[in-house]
Every structure is written in structure tokens, then in C-alpha cells.
């Protein structure tokens, strides 16, 4: 599916540019966005090195396993195919916690580590059940305090910059719950398909 979306966006864009005479903009966008992507990847080095370095210490110091022990009841239900004491659990939890506090920069390295551990478990190039659940929870956003949005609202002289925290939390809770339910439904569909 990602192949179709990826190629489709480019093909539709170029055909649209042919018709609408926006080829110059497309030409410029190709090269400026490519260099933007390089800047982004290089920029990721700083956060990845810092957080993965710190997380290695936290892991060896036993902080991650303590953290996962605390939230275990909840997370084992969400990820039934990951063994209870597997390191993947610790990384999944750290990723969720970093997201809750709006620390997107810290969440990505931990999410990547979680994926690596899950890949070791599944040992295939196919997305496993727990990987899909993990991604879906991430894309539905777990933010409790949307710091960037609050900052923008302050910048434009909002009378109450934080008044959207409540609505954001409610919306996030509803969306994430639905995301988990839909993920389960798709999983059940996959299972019944494989049985046939």
C-alpha cells in the first residue's frame, strides 16, 4: 500500500503540474525537499545519539525494567505476544511516557529501540502484530501537554493558551481508544483470513 501511495503522490503531483503549469515549483520542491530531508536526518543524529546513549545507561541500571514492572498489567494486555519480561516492553513504555510529556525528540529513539526488539522477536521483514499495535498507538498521538501548540498560542496573545489542554487530552483519549479497537478488529480479520 505504501508503494502505491508513495508513487501515487509523485505521479499525481507531476501530472497536475503539467496541466496547471506549476512545473517550476515542482522542480524546485524536489531538490529543496531532498536537501531538507538530509538536514532532518543529520539533525536526528543529535537526539538519537543523546537518548540512545542515556537509555543504554538506564537499561543497564535497571531503570527500564522497573518502569515496565509498574505498567506491566496494562501493557501486557495491549501487546499479548511479547513475553512479559522482554526488553521490548521497557522501550515501548519509555516511548509512551516520552510521548505523554510531549518529548517527541526523546520518544523517537525509544520507539526505534522498541521496534528493533520486536523485530528480534518476530525475525521477519513483515510487520508483526505488536509492531502494528505500537505504531497505531503512536500515530494516534499520546500527548498530554502539547507544548508546541501552547507556545504558538502564547505567541499570538491567547487569553488562555492552555485552555486547549483539556480538549486535546479528551480527543487523544477517544482517538487512541478507537485506534486500539480498530487495530484489534484488523488483527481478528487477519487471523480469520489465515485460518481459511
Amino acid at each position: 500500500m505504501v508503494n502505491y501511495i508513495w508513487a501515487g503522490m509523485s505521479i499525481i503531483g507531476i501530472i497536475y503540474a503539467m496541466i496547471n503549469g506549476t512545473m517550476d515549483q515542482v522542480n524546485e520542491a524536489i531538490f529543496s525537499s531532498a536537501s531538507e530531508a538530509v538536514t532532518l536526518s543529520i539533525g536526528l543524529i543529535s537526539v538519537l545519539v543523546f537518548w540512545l546513549g542515556l537509555m543504554r545507561i538506564a537499561e543497564k541500571a535497571g531503570i527500564l525494567s522497573k518502569l515496565s514492572a509498574f505498567f506491566k498489567p496494562l501493557v501486557t494486555r495491549l501487546f499479548p505476544d511479547i513475553p512479559k519480561d522482554h526488553p521490548a516492553m521497557g522501550y515501548i513504555l519509555s516511548n509512551f511516557i516520552a510521548n505523554l510529556f510531549g518529548l517527541g525528540n526523546a520518544a523517537t529513539p525509544m520507539g526505534i529501540k522498541a521496534m528493533k526488539e520486536m523485530k528480534l522477536l518476530s525475525n521477519s521483514d513483515k510487520a508483526s502484530r505488536s509492531m502494528i499495535t505500537f505504531l497505531v498507538i503512536n500515530t494516534s498521538s499520546l500527548t498530554l501537554i502539547p507544548t508546541t501548540v501552547i507556545a504558538i498560542r502564547m505567541q499570538y496573545q491567547s487569553a488562555a493558551p492552555t485552555e486547549i489542554v483539556g480538549t486535546t487530552i479528551i480527543a487523544t483519549l477517544i482517538t487512541t481508544s478507537f485506534a486500539i479497537i480498530i487495530d484489534r478488529l484488523f488483527y481478528l480479520k487477519r487471523v480469520s483470513k489465515n485460518k481459511k
Binding site: G13, A17, T22, S41, I57, G111, D125, T139, T162, Y187
Partner: protein, 177 residues
């Protein structure tokens, strides 16, 4: 507000401190462990480059050609029928595909309509309650070399759609005049 700014400023340094104190008390080689873990970060960031570049360029072609805007205009009658303010449509469609572009649109909407308007509050909530599905899928699957994504993208996009609808409903209820 002060408490929130205080928490956001303190949380990362506090985490660093707690990790380092715990490890030092346990007599672990903190610096060596940091470097060892950090090396993995360099590898990961570099291996992500082609995945990110491919996705970002494709999105840029789609946006810069004007196809995205045309698509939104096309959908406007449907949106107004559903009672979704058309001002919010560009944000709703950009949010899953590009985080920085979505943030720019949110800032723009807040600037034009004011942070305390319905559109301003809706944009703020929408920005905070969904995430960039394409980026997350690209980075996480790219980092570990998953080629068959299963239902991840489908479910992620459905979740985005639900997030957008939920934001509109919640903001309408909470901030109804």
C-alpha cells in the same frame, strides 16, 4: 501555565540526573555505556536517510504542484455538508503526511483567526491530538527494515480520520457559546 512550563523545563534534566545517579550508585561505567549506546544512534540516523528523503520528496511534489490544494477544494462541498469548517481542511489533510507543514498551517490559522476563536481552538486541539502517521511509519519501519507493513498504514490513517472528527466534536461541545 507556570506549572506546565516548569514541568516541561525540568523533566529532561531531571531524567538525566536520575539515570546518572542510579547508574553511578550501582558503579556502572556510565560514560562508556553512553558512548556505546550513542554509536547505535549514528547508525540509525544514517540508515533512515533514504526512507525519509523518499517520503519527503514525494510529499513535496504533491504539495508544490497544487494537487493537495485542488484535492481539498474538491472535497469542500462534502465537508460543509458534514458541518466541518472548510478553513480547517488543509490542516486535516496535511497532519498525517507532514508534521512541519501541519505546524505551519496551525500557526497560520491561529494567526488569521486568533487563538481564542473556534478555528484557533480547533486547530490547536487537532494539532495536539493526532500525529504524523507517514513520518512515524517511515521512521519506525525504516529503522528496522520492515518491508511488509501489514495493516499499519491503513489503521493509522483511519485513526487520523477519527482524531479529526473527534477534535471537531470535542471542541464544539467544550467551547460552545
Amino acid at each position: 501555565m507556570n506549572t506546565i512550563t516548569l514541568i516541561s523545563a525540568w523533566i529532561i534534566p531531571s531524567m538525566v540526573m536520575i539515570v546518572l545517579i542510579t547508574a553511578t550508585v550501582k558503579k556502572l561505567p556510565t560514560y562508556e555505556l553512553f558512548v556505546e549506546g550513542g554509536k547505535e544512534g549514528v547508525k540509525t540516523a544514517i540508515s533512515l536517510l533514504p526512507f525519509l528523503l523518499g517520503m519527503i520528496v514525494s510529499i513535496a511534489i504533491f504539495r508544490s504542484s497544487g494537487a493537495l490544494d485542488a484535492f481539498i477544494t474538491l472535497l469542500e462541498p462534502v465537508l460543509s455538508f458534514l458541518g466541518i469548517p472548510s478553513e480547517i481542511a488543509p490542516l486535516a489533510f496535511t497532519r498525517p503526511i507532514s508534521g512541519t507543514a501541519a505546524l505551519a498551517i496551525t500557526a497560520e490559522l491561529i494567526k488569521i483567526y486568533g487563538p481564542d476563536s473556534f478555528i484557533g481552538r480547533l486547530a490547536s486541539t487537532m494539532q495536539g491530538s493526532t500525529d504524523t502517521t507517514f513520518y512515524i511509519i517511515t521512521v519506525y519501519f525504516g529503522a528496522v527494515g520492515i518491508h511488509k507493513m501489514g495493516d499499519a498504514l491503513k489503521v493509522g490513517l483511519i485513526a487520523d480520520f477519527i482524531g479529526i472528527i473527534t477534535s471537531i466534536i470535542v471542541v464544539s461541545i467544550v467551547f460552545s457559546q
